[in-house]
Amino acid sequence: MLRLLYFAWLRERVGHSEEEVVLPSSVRTVGELMRWLAARDTVHGAAFAKPGLIRAAVNQEFAGPETELSDGDEVAFFPPVTGG
C-alpha cells in the first residue's frame, strides 16, 4: 500500500489532497505509478494528462520517474515549485 499526496493545481484537479492505493505488482517505479494513475479513471487521467508538468517526491525526497517504490512509501505529486 502507498500513501499518495497531491499539491497545488494537481490537488485541485484530483479533488483531494491524499489517498491510499494498493499497487499491482507490475507498478514498480514513480513513472509506472503515474501511468497507472492516469489510466485508472477520468479524473486522474485529466490530472496526469501532461506528465512533463508534474514532479514527484518519494518519502519527502525529490524523485524521478525511475525511482523505485516500496510498500508503505509516501509518494507526492505536484507542479514545479514556486516558493521564495
Partner: protein, 151 residues
C-alpha cells in the same frame, strides 16, 4: 547551525538580523533578501497570494539548502524564515540571511539561498486577482537557470 522556520506568522526583519548578528560572532558582513507580495502582476491587480507547502518535506528541504550554504561558504551563518498561508500585497513572504567574515561570501550565500529556495523547496504560490479569478504561479525558466549557476 542554520535556523530555519516555515510558518504562517509574520517575521520581523530587524529581530531576525539582530539574532543572527549575535550568533555570528566573527561576521563582518550580513546579506539579506526579503520577498514581498506584489500588488500587481502583469498589470493585473492582486488581492492576495496563497502559499501552499508540503508539511514535513518543506522544513527538511529548507534545512538542507540552509546547511548547504553554511558548508559552501564556511564560516557562514544562515537564517531562513518562509511564510505559508494567505498573504496580502505588501506582506513578507520570505527572509534569507547569511552572515560571513566578508561581503563576498555573505552576498553570494544570500543569492544561492534564494535561488535554491525558489527551485528546490516544495512551496507553491497561487495568485488571487481583483476580478475574482485565481492562478497558480508557473515556474520560471530564469529561476531554474539562476539555481543552476550554483551547480
Amino acid at each position: 547551525m542554520a535556523y530555519v522556520a516555515v510558518q504562517e506568522a509574520d517575521f520581523e526583519p530587524g529581530a531576525e538580523i539582530a539574532r543572527l548578528t549575535e550568533q555570528a560572532g566573527g561576521a563582518g558582513g550580513i546579506g539579506c533578501f526579503i520577498g514581498v507580495v506584489r500588488g500587481e502582476v502583469g498589470n493585473r491587480a492582486i488581492t492576495a497570494m496563497t502559499l501552499e507547502h508540503y508539511p514535513g518535506m518543506t522544513e527538511r528541504a529548507v534545512r538542507v539548502i540552509a546547511e548547504e550554504a553554511e558548508r559552501r561558504w564556511d564560516p557562514c551563518w544562515v537564517r531562513v524564515v518562509h511564510r505559508v498561508g494567505r498573504l496580502t500585497p505588501g506582506e513578507h513572504i520570505v527572509l534569507v540571511l547569511a552572515a560571513a567574515p566578508h561581503r563576498e561570501p555573505a552576498l553570494a550565500a544570500t543569492g544561492f539561498l534564494i535561488d535554491w529556495l525558489k527551485t528546490k523547496a516544495p512551496f507553491w504560490k497561487k495568485e488571487h486577482f481583483a476580478d475574482g479569478s485565481t492562478a497558480w504561479v508557473e515556474a520560471r525558466a530564469e529561476d531554474a537557470k539562476a539555481a543552476a549557476r550554483w551547480g
